[in-house]
Point group: C2
Chain length 403, copies 2
């Protein structure tokens, strides 16, 4: 049983956070943040699959391979990507400076950056900011930390839950940032999760892999996968539960379920805050031969600019949905395919249902949240993807990002 | 030597055309067209790879397999896609009606449709229109025919050339329509090419395959591949040249070069008329290990909404270009990658050139035609893709298409 609680990422015991304005972002809001566990942790993280990987990801991959990350240092306003050797040195300096201040080893610090690509970090501001943030670490610093990871986000994304394992109260909490370059494999998505559960590092990694696959990897805002994506979880065992050491155990299942809930909630918040988004679209593909088919058909719909602009314009041009399924690469046959928008069946066996109520469809499309369901008629596998529409505002935000 | 001529698709000898308003489109302009060769032809055609293939494509695939198409009948305003068995019957009726009027076999007629998906054809209007168009066929009907294939196109797309084979003057001409759902494998792209050259059917097919691969399959407006794409060429031999019967011959090479020129010119016109386009972007990827890598990297750039909106906004956010290359799947390493926009080098060995002139870059991005060149540093293969930017107008056109 999960209960929603307040307190953000410092709600789990033994975590502190801070966020400060170091002057990297021009708008005066926080741009350097630190999350810190006062005790050793098990840690796991997943990173972007983009080959043009940013310097902080290279540094963090190394750190996480030791499984002992206790601090996360992050800046917004500059992605430190495509910055060559200098960028790598700068990312290492961020880790080292943080480690020094918190009396940790460099490999106990994970580094993340988000913002414009191709610009070097202003390291004097960054190191000063890290000093300031380290000094400010507290159990009340989670809101400032949350501000420090935001770029074009229009609202902070955070959630926290309590549950019990063997009678011990446990907590898990997470934060995330969007809001552009969001596509499977985590896009310019940063997400950090804290929990006071005691869990073996390999099981934590296994749980995170599965939870990411069904949450962050099932969302798309614009089809662009960024250079900096990072999702990390720190588990410090302060809840005092019996160490979760077997994947088949009831405790593992309950922890996984909590982690999955946090990841899905944050992933959906990222989509709701997609750049310029006016609609939240849930795309269900059922009746697929395999999960991979269901996911690729759902993703093709989610990525189609024609589908996304039609939903923005509330234009009942449903043929574009089947069209996207047709080029997705999924195993599919037109005459076995059906489509519903909301609870209205539009297509059966590949052709439009004669005389379906256009007025009803327009009413469904006028809502903010819309479900699209495609049944491929090929098997039993299914996948759900979340996306948003494409609006004038998306074009505006992304035509003027650096200027 | 190719010389540009006037006269459109009826410039080659032995071709007639007509276009009439049958009432399928609401705006009173032509919506049924016919192209007709007065003598037998060799014919070849390529169709969409979308699995949700439209009824006219199913019918035309059968017809073209005989290689003797003499007439093309096309309607705009309704795609006759996702229309089930009735759609298939309707497409066959269009072919049969045309064949009857022109005293042909059904398999000598190619059928094409473009417009909204999922709506049945108003067959009474269609058959009346076909009768009217067949009666109106003439050597001056090419402009009306060209109007009849347009949907959201803002200008007609046509070109015609003369060249000589063995001293005989030969002509080749083509028309095309765009302008949304344009992506490799020909999208909602209809293109019809006429020539009076005498060529063996298998060689005509070979030439068309290669020309399409390097023209229509190298453009992207929005990443959506449609249900109805068709490009067809009819060669009726009326120029009196010696039959082209060997792929290695000089005559074949000259014909191929003319065909390639027509296809590339029309494909580029389709991009220039991309829905809402304000920029024409030529994306060159060089230094690739294989053509497939070069093409997939170029296509990832061409499809990226973040790149396309940045060019619309003239925002020098070049990191998005490398980011797209990074997730494209092409073999690539950041530290071997270079990037130029226009003649300005921006990135060398994966990192931004220190102090490149931002003012110069903004000047380049202010132009209507912009070349982007990425060198992957992996090998000798290259590919060029053409695309356009993403504007407010794209969102507007596609949010209001059917309403």
């Amino acid at each position: 049983m999960l209960t929603k609680i307040t307190g953000g990422i410092t709600a789990p015991q033994g975590f502190k956070a801070a966020g400060v304005h170091a002057g990297i972002k021009k708008n005066g809001i926080e741009d350097i943040g630190i999350i810190y566990s006062t005790v050793p942790t098990a840690a796991a993280a997943k990173f972007t699959t983009n080959k043009m990987v940013a310097a902080p990801v290279l540094v963090s991959r190394e750190a996480v391979s030791q499984g002992k990350v206790r601090a996360i240092v992050v800046n917004s306003g500059c992605a430190n990507a495509c910055t060559g050797n200098q960028g790598l040195t700068d990312a290492r300096t961020m880790a080292h400076k943080t480690a020094e201040l918190l009396n940790l080893n460099d490999y106990e610090v994970l580094v993340a950056s988000t913002g414009v690509i191709g610009v070097p970090l202003p390291m004097d501001k960054v190191t000063a900011g890290i000093s300031q943030a380290a000094a400010a670490l507290s159990e009340n610093g989670y809101e400032a930390m949350l501000s420090a990871i935001m770029t074009t986000d229009t609202f902070p994304k955070s959630c926290a839950y309590e549950f019990t394992l063997g009678g011990k109260p446990c907590k898990i909490a997470g934060i995330a940032k969007g809001a552009g370059m969001i596509h499977p494999n985590m896009a310019t998505m940063l997400s950090f999760i804290t929990t006071d559960v005691a869990i073996a590092p390999d099981l934590l990694n296994q749980a995170l892999s599965q939870a990411v696959e069904l949450s962050y990897n099932m969302i798309s805002v614009d089809g662009d996968t960024s250079t900096n994506d990072t999702v990390a979880v720190l588990a410090n065992g302060q809840a005092g539960n019996k160490l979760i050491a077997a994947a088949g155990s009831q405790d593992y299942q309950e922890f996984y379920s909590a982690l999955q809930t946090v990841c899905t909630e944050l992933a959906q918040l990222v989509v709701r805050d997609g750049e310029g988004a006016t609609k939240f679209l849930e795309i269900n593909v059922t009746g697929a031969a395999h999960f991979a088919d269901a996911k690729c058909a759902a993703m093709a719909i989610a990525k189609s600019p024609l589908v996304k602009t039609a939903f923005f314009g509330q234009d009942p041009n449903w043929g574009r949905i089947l069209c996207a399924v047709g080029y997705s690469g999924a195993k599919t046959q037109l005459d076995k395919t059906s489509l519903a928008i909301g609870d209205l069946t539009i297509v059966v066996d590949g052709h439009g249902v004669a005389g379906f109520e256009t007025a009803k469809l327009k009413e469904i499309m006028a809502a903010k949240d819309i479900a699209i369901t495609v049944n491929l008629g090929q098997g039993e596998a299914a996948a759900t993807v979340w996306t948003c529409d494409f609006s004038y505002e998306y074009v505006k935000i992304n035509g003027e990002y650096t200027t």
